[in-house]
Amino acid sequence: MTFMEVNNLKKVYTPRLGSKGTEALSSVNFSVDKGEFVAIMGESGSGKTTLLNILSTLDNPTEGEVYLDGTPLSEIKDKSISRFRREQLGFVFQDFNLLDNFTIKDNILLPLVLARTSVDNMEKRIQPLAENLGIGALLDQYPYEVSGGQKQRAAVARALITEPKIVLADEPTGALDSKSSQSLLELFESIHQEGQTILMVTHSAQAASYSSRVLFIRDGRVYHEIYRGGQSNEKYTEKITQALLVSSSRGEYNED
């Protein structure tokens, strides 16, 4: 069942009137099924971040449309866009984006507070979630008092607490050491198994290998796709690495 559909997405940045713009996305097409864990890979400048910004309604496409659960994103009015983001999407950022003036608990509760949820309801939701993510003991601490991995877990908790339709993760392991990265990815895997749809942008083949499908993006378009299917972890990782290698060599051919 198609859950998110991206149709002919195009984004051109025009710095000034009249001057020729930079094309960040030329034509992106793909879809995500409910409960899928999709990784998007690509080099710097390939348009990953632009794509993610459009998917998360932080930016508007020049052409094309994104449908989430049948709703076209362009039809959401400016007024309700924050609400949409709060209720339908969960975000995990590379640099955590936790607020230092809130405790871990308040950081996680932020989207619920913004949605005017009752205190009882909030308390009910946070406890099991925090236990599940292994940060139950850290709730009263401040972000600057805990490690990077713990911060990212808190950020994941903040993304999940609204029970969003889709979690959008932007290089979630980018600022973590390998051990924390691995444990975070295992966490993603386990929430995926519980039925959560996840879209993750990443550089790392290792991170991508936890997904159920990898999309490769370059020069503003999706040019390759690998399904995990029933493959073992090693095989899947190897395929991803190979695809990356091919992509860079093909890039050379193209320049000739």
Binding site: S82, R86, N97, D106, L114
Partner: protein
């Protein structure tokens, strides 16, 4: 490195950071200008010629502005440094040694400091001159007040600000020396700890503020008001700083504990935001509060003085003409005879001019100082704040003055005290005991004299009784000699012009060479001009100071908003990413702004309310007795200042919102 290279580099840095440096130099320059304008008043002729109180008052003002300059320049400097940390970190990574970075930074401070000091002095002189010119013109005083700046004012200003800039330089250098490049690169992004609440400081603040308020509320009379005013001000200032720094955190933490209240979008964002930044901004808020109180008090008291000049005159001069005599070493009888001679001449002259004397009152009295212990009045030589004044009248004079018919037997006395609780059944003066008959009311013309200090009025049966007291006092070794005083108050018929000439003539008559005892004559009309010019001068200074302090408050508010804007910007952006909408952003920032606006102005209003008794007592020295005028002026000034502050806040919060959004 060569000096030329360093200065080139420093200048380049200032130019490329002009967005930060220009506001910094404007702020520092304005503080310099404020300081030089304030300190110039210390050596101002008008100020020095009036009274020592005024000089010490302005001395205190100068000290306050000096401290304010130090705090404020440090505040803006740390704001500047915080934004530049990244750049400095980059230098270290690119291979500049710390000492090189330090020399460049030092050079930057030297350049920025000199520009600020020089431009500040120029602006201070120009602005000072200009505002004096404008105020002189607008208020239209009979006597112009000159603005002058002496060399010592320059010296003081330059020395102080070189000192302040040197301290900021040291601060910046230690910042660079004791940090590593990676941390500098991350800049202000490091997490700041949530401030700890310290109940001890809070209690100390409460005590200090309470003590200050207590002094004001329980002040007995004008003399003690004069001596204790500075103590009270100091206590209130300390209390304000402590309460703002410690109290605000305690209150915010309590609010945070109330979950139902805290976990709502508006309070959630604003309470946590305020708590987070309170440590830095409590001082700013306290500064604004104190400057606001100063504006309010300076302007309202001087307006009251100016508008109350007529009242002052009517107290000083119960009638249009006033003639006093107080020759040394003379008995009551002798003075009476001598006074009659002079009075006759005055009356004769009046008759010659075809004028009539109306409401004439003549009396003699003796004025002593001491203290009352149980029923015994001990005369003392030193006049200090906790003593009591004793006014002695012979019965005959008192009856004439009050138009009453009191009768006293030998050994009886009428006793009036301005402390209504005092109820004596006997009264002992100069080792003689009188049966006290309590007096409920005294004539208005002498009641005015009883307001400044604790006063007892004693009416004794005969002039001889008072002579005895006098000689008893004058025989005591170490006591100041005291004498009788005769007073004559009267009005005349005739036009204004006639009265003016009459006053000049009478002045000559009372000073005539052939008089054994000459008199001292004053006319209300001639004094009027003098009083108006003096009170006008005070009004002038009040408005000038008010303007100065308002500029101070404006500067702090502006910088607070800008720095808070930059601090909050990132937080708001993150929250918007996770679903904070524009409307809630506005609501939250709005409530934050409203609090930051109301807190200082509310504090200022409360301080002013508590300061009211002591200020009223101080104004009594100038003859302002009525409450109505002072209350009206104070309320008016508070409202007007709140309005001005509100405008300032509207403008600066726009700046804030534009940064945040």
């Amino acid at each position: 490195m060569k000096i030329s290279f360093i200065s080139k580099m420093a200048w380049q840095n200032i130019k490329s950071n002009r967005k930060l440096y220009i506001p910094y130099m404007v702020a520092a320059g304005t503080t310099v200008a404020m300081f030089i304008m304030m300190s110039a008043l210390l050596t101002n002729k008008f100020v020095q010629e009036r009274s020592a109180v005024l000089t010490s008052l302005f001395g205190m003002g100068t000290i306050v502005i000096g401290i304010f300059s130090l705090i404020f320049i440090f505040y803006t400097n740390s704001f500047l440094m915080k934004r530049r940390k990244k750049e400095l970190g980059l230098y270290s990574i690119l291979g500049l040694e710390k000492k090189h970075v330090n020399t460049i930074l030092g050079m930057e401070t030297v350049i920025a400091g000199s520009i600020s000091i020089i431009s500040g002095i120029i602006v201070g002189i120009l602005f000072g001159k200009m505002s004096f010119l404008i105020l002189n013109y607008v208020l239209n005083f009979p006597v112009e007040i000159e603005y002058s700046i002496g060399w010592n004012t320059f010296g003081l200003t330059i020395a102080l600000f070189i000192g302040i800039f040197f301290l900021t330089m040291l601060f910046n250098i230690t910042q660079v020396t004791f940090s590593n490049p990676i941390r500098l690169l991350k800049g202000g992004k490091e997490g700041e700890k949530e401030p700890k609440s310290s109940p001890i400081l809070f209690v100390l603040g409460l005590l200090s503020l309470g003590a200050g308020y207590y002094i004001s509320l329980t002040i007995a009379d004008s003399m003690s008001a004069l001596t204790q005013f500075f103590v009270a001000v100091l206590l209130v200032i300390i209390g304000t700083y402590l309460l703002f720094t410690a109290g605000s955190i305690i209150v915010l933490k309590l609010l945070k504990k109330n979950k139902k209240l805290y976990y709502k979008p508006g309070p959630f964002i604003s309470i946590s935001g305020m708590l987070y930044r309170m440590k830095q901004h409590a001082v700013g808020l306290a500064n604004i509060s104190i400057l606001s109180v100063m504006v309010i008090i300076a302007v309202s008291t001087t307006i009251t003085l100016f508008l109350g000049t007529e009242e002052t005159l009517s107290i000083r001069f119960p009638a249009e003409n006033k003639l006093t005599m107080s020759p040394p070493d003379m008995s009551g009888e002798e003075l009476e005879q001598n006074a009659e001679v002079l009075y006759d001449r005055v009356e004769q002259y009046t008759e010659e001019q075809n004028l009539q004397i109306k409401d004439g009152v003549k009396y003699q009295s003796v004025n002593l100082f001491g203290n009352l212990k149980e029923n015994v009045f001990n005369i003392r030589e030193i006049r200090d704040a906790d003593g009591t004044m004793l006014l002695l009248f012979p019965l005959e004079d008192f009856n004439q003055m009050s138009a009453e018919e009191y009768n006293l037997k030998e050994g009886e006395a009428l006793i009036y005290s301005n402390e209504s609780s005092l109820n004596l059944d006997s009264f002992t003066i100069a080792e003689k005991e009188y049966n006290a008959i309590s007096l409920k009311e005294v004539p208005k013309m002498i009641k005015a004299n009883t307001q400044i200090v604790d006063t007892i009025i004693a009416v004794l049966p005969t002039t001889q009784d008072i002579d005895e007291v006098l000689s008893y006092n004058n025989e005591q070794p170490g006591n100041t000699k005291t004498q009788w005083q005769a007073e004559y108050h009267w009005n005349t018929t005739g036009s204004e012009a006639v009265k003016k000439d009459y006053a000049t003539e009478i002045n000559g008559i009372t000073q005539a060479d052939d008089l054994e005892v000459s008199g001292f004559y004053e006319s209300r009309e001639t004094s009027r001009q003098e009083w108006y010019s003096m009170n006008g001068g005070f009004l002038f200074l009040g408005i000038f100071l008010g303007g100065l302090f308002t500029i101070g408050a404006l500067l702090i508010t502006y910088f607070k908003q800008v720095s808070e804007g930059y601090d909050d910007r990132e937080r708001i952006q993150i929250m918007q990413k996770v679903g904070l909408d524009k409307q809630t952003t506005r609501q939250a920032t709005h409530s934050q702004i409203v609090w930051m606006f109301t807190l200082p102005i509310l504090t200022a209003a409360i301080h002013t309310a508590f300061a009211y008794p002591i200020i009223h007592k101080l104004l009594m020295i100038f003859g302002i007795m009525q409450h109505k005028l002072l209350i009206l002026c104070t309320v008016g000034v508070v409202v007007a200042f709140a309005l001005i502050y509100w405008i300032i806040y509207r403008i600066t919060s726009k700046v804030y919102l534009s940064i945040v959004e």
